[in-house]
């Protein structure tokens, strides 16, 4: 049970001291097996393919993409809930890519996760006190003021009533449950929090409460976030830098302002223009609504079981040419800090 102290000190690759998390070539392929006696592999779901990024201390990296783009798989690999097929994850200068469960355990204090669904991520048979205090129990950490007092402090920190210590999750609303989940992740004072769709299950008015809470906690406790979401407006609000994923690939990575004001990858451009804005559309006299001119992507995201060759976006891209079907575009830095994987990027001086 107790973690073996002989931690395999794999080559602590040096990276910038400001970098808390560094991911290189992260890949996850899920095999598809057939047959009962003779299991044979008939396919490979390429959920995440060669994804690389850095997260600096105290910053928030937002990851956006449509369903099936591999953003959740990436998040789970970061906290080592899923074993990566290939690539390297450096946390605080240490290689944690293939640490065994025992060696990983001390690290769990520093990396925590907020889950999407506040209804299924809390054990309905445990009280709030037991849920929020579980990390201390599992890590055998003695808190200064005793578990109960410390849990109550945490509840207060996330804006819940400390007297609700003995209540069960079903007695709380969705927003309050998400706060319980957040209190639990904070118990061990982690350095990095990976949040997978932390607000998408909540109502609009509650979403803003949780977004503000996450921001307050970050400035108070100096947290670093990796926030995964499909809602581009939420990501723009919370993130400093944004990574856009499509079908397992990282297609664009840039500073928030850069990305939202000058998106370079056609997919990002299409994604941004597809978001309906809460501004009434003035109808024209002929009855045909004055619907905004926007880029309409045709079709659906292809299956990751058999992704299109080279640039995976070429089947839906309006700029696709032969080169897109044959040569995978490298992730190149087109402007300082603005990485794009595209042969024909938008918003470049040459293209305009």
């Amino acid at each position: 049970m107790s973690a073996p102290q002989s931690q395999p000190e794999t080559a602590s690759v040096s990276s910038s001291p400001d970098t808390l998390l560094s991911v290189t070539g992260l890949t996850k392929h899920f095999p598809v097996n057939r047959g009962i006696i003779f299991r044979r592999r008939v396919g490979l779901v390429r959920s995440v393919d060669d994804v690389s990024f850095d997260v600096a201390r105290g910053e928030t990296l937002g990851v956006v993409g449509e369903s099936g783009c591999g953003k959740t798989t990436t998040a789970r690999m970061l906290v080592r809930l899923i074993e990566p097929t290939d690539g390297q994850i450096l946390f605080d200068g240490r290689d944690i890519t293939h640490l065994r469960a025992g060696a990983m355990r001390p690290l769990r204090r520093e990396v925590q996760m907020i889950f999407q669904d506040p209804y299924s991520s809390l054990n309905p048979r445990h009280t709030v006190g037991a849920i929020v205090g579980a990390p201390w129990r599992l890590q055998k950490v003695k808190t200064e003021k005793g578990t109960k007092r410390s849990v109550q402090d945490l509840l207060e920190l996330v804006g819940l009533n400390p007297e609700h210590y003995n209540r069960y999750p079903h007695e709380f609303s969705g927003g309050q449950r998400q706060r319980i989940g957040i209190a639990r992740t904070l118990a061990l004072r982690p350095k990095l929090i990976v949040a997978d769709e932390p607000v998408s299950a909540l109502d609009v008015s509650i979403q803003a409460q949780v977004i503000n809470l996450l921001a307050d906690l970050q400035s108070e406790l100096g947290l670093t976030y990796v926030i995964i979401a499909h809602d581009l407006s939420v990501i723009r609000h919370v993130a400093n830098r944004v990574a856009v994923m499509y079908l397992g690939n990282l297609v664009e990575l840039a500073d928030r302002t850069e990305l939202y004001e000058r998106p370079r990858h056609p997919y990002t451009v299409a994604l941004l223009s597809a978001v309906p804005s809460p501004e009434p559309v003035r109808r024209t006299a002929d009855g045909r609504g004055g619907r905004r001119d926007r880029i309409r992507l045709v079709g659906d995201v292809p299956s990751p079981l058999n992704p299109p060759p080279a640039c995976r976006f070429h089947t839906r891209c309006w700029k696709a040419q032969d080169v897109c079907r044959t040569v995978p575009p490298p992730l190149a830095e087109l402007a300082p800090g603005h990485m794009v994987a595209c042969h024909f990027p938008e918003n470049t001086p040459a293209s305009n």
Binding site: E66, A208, A215, A274, E279, R288
Partner: protein
Amino acid sequence: MAAGDGTGEYGTTGEPAAGGDGAQTGDAARTGDTTQAGDSESGRRGGWRPGRGRATRADRTQADLESMSPPDPRYMLEVRDLRVHFPTDDGLVKAVDGISFRLERGRTLGIVGESGSGKSVTSLAIMGMHHGGSAKLGGQIYLDGEELVGADPARVRRLRGSKMAMIFQDPLSALHPYYTVGHQIAEAYLVHNKVSKKAAKAHAVEMLDRVGIPNPQARVDDYPHQFSGGMRQRTMIAMALSCDPELLIADEPTTALDVTVQAQILDLISSLQQEFGSAVIMITHDLGVVAELADDILVMYAGRTTEYGTSEDIFDRPAHPYAWGLLSSMPRLDRARIKRLVPIPGTPPSLINVPSGCPFHPRCAYAARTNGKSESEVPPLRSVGLGHEAACHLSADEQREIWAELVKTRLSPAVRSREDA
């Protein structure tokens, strides 16, 4: 306006359920004997049958009887003082409590609200799908002049699918996994039209083509699991439109979809509306989606209407603090980024214990300005502008002042989006 009066009358006692309902048999406060009352009612109709969701004449309140003016022929759908209550062991759940709206042909009404505000219950009531359940219905629903709340379930069944149709939120659970999509689309067409199975299948192929499914000849024999999420939602739309309905209700049609697919589906719904000239009700929690499609908007909170007006009214000059709260709590892409969102404090109320007076008052920042009125009196839906109504105790002048000086300034200025440049 008759319907507005109904709401006011119903609410003025402050204890909405108990007020002025002398004529009701099985409704409201007397939860204890509801079941019994329901049973004796069905007994009168000749034996037990699953028709409890249906309001009988006796279920009508005085206000209902007074407001029984003939429906306006201009409207495809007219809902007056609709109430849907569910008796439960814990008390009476007033899921919908006196809402009224009107919808013309070719126009779109957006119904906006948070979870539990009664949006979906309203749509199910229009479709007559509370029949056989425990729901108690009150008020009137006129579909093209025909009253539905007290109508014979068999009659409503004939209308459902042909004259009115619905697109459900989650296409994976709304489609039957055992039957091909073609079979499911043809089913409604066969029921409502005297055609051969072959003709119905041909019609299914045509519908699939209409909603933009590639290679419909082959895909018509596929099962739902062979379709992607967007294609399933297109199939749902094909199913709903197979009998050219005059009223189409879309209940969160894009919530389960990705943004790029959502844009395709919204385009599809609006172009099909142009083509068929149907009236559309769009139920959603996403203000972006309603702004995109709706001509008129009804904002619901705790089973009641807080505000009703045109799309411009709600977005450009909202009058109710709830709408202000929604607008200032959402991050927006079309505006400059603001440092901090202003959320609505607290959580939506339980529908068993709706706060006294204005149901929104515990979360309202301006409740103090009403001198305690918001805690004791249910605000009636009042006109605050031409065709714009709000249920708020603040005077229209106060509302305009607060919106212009306190709320609007908090919202960030609009920036022209990149693509327009």
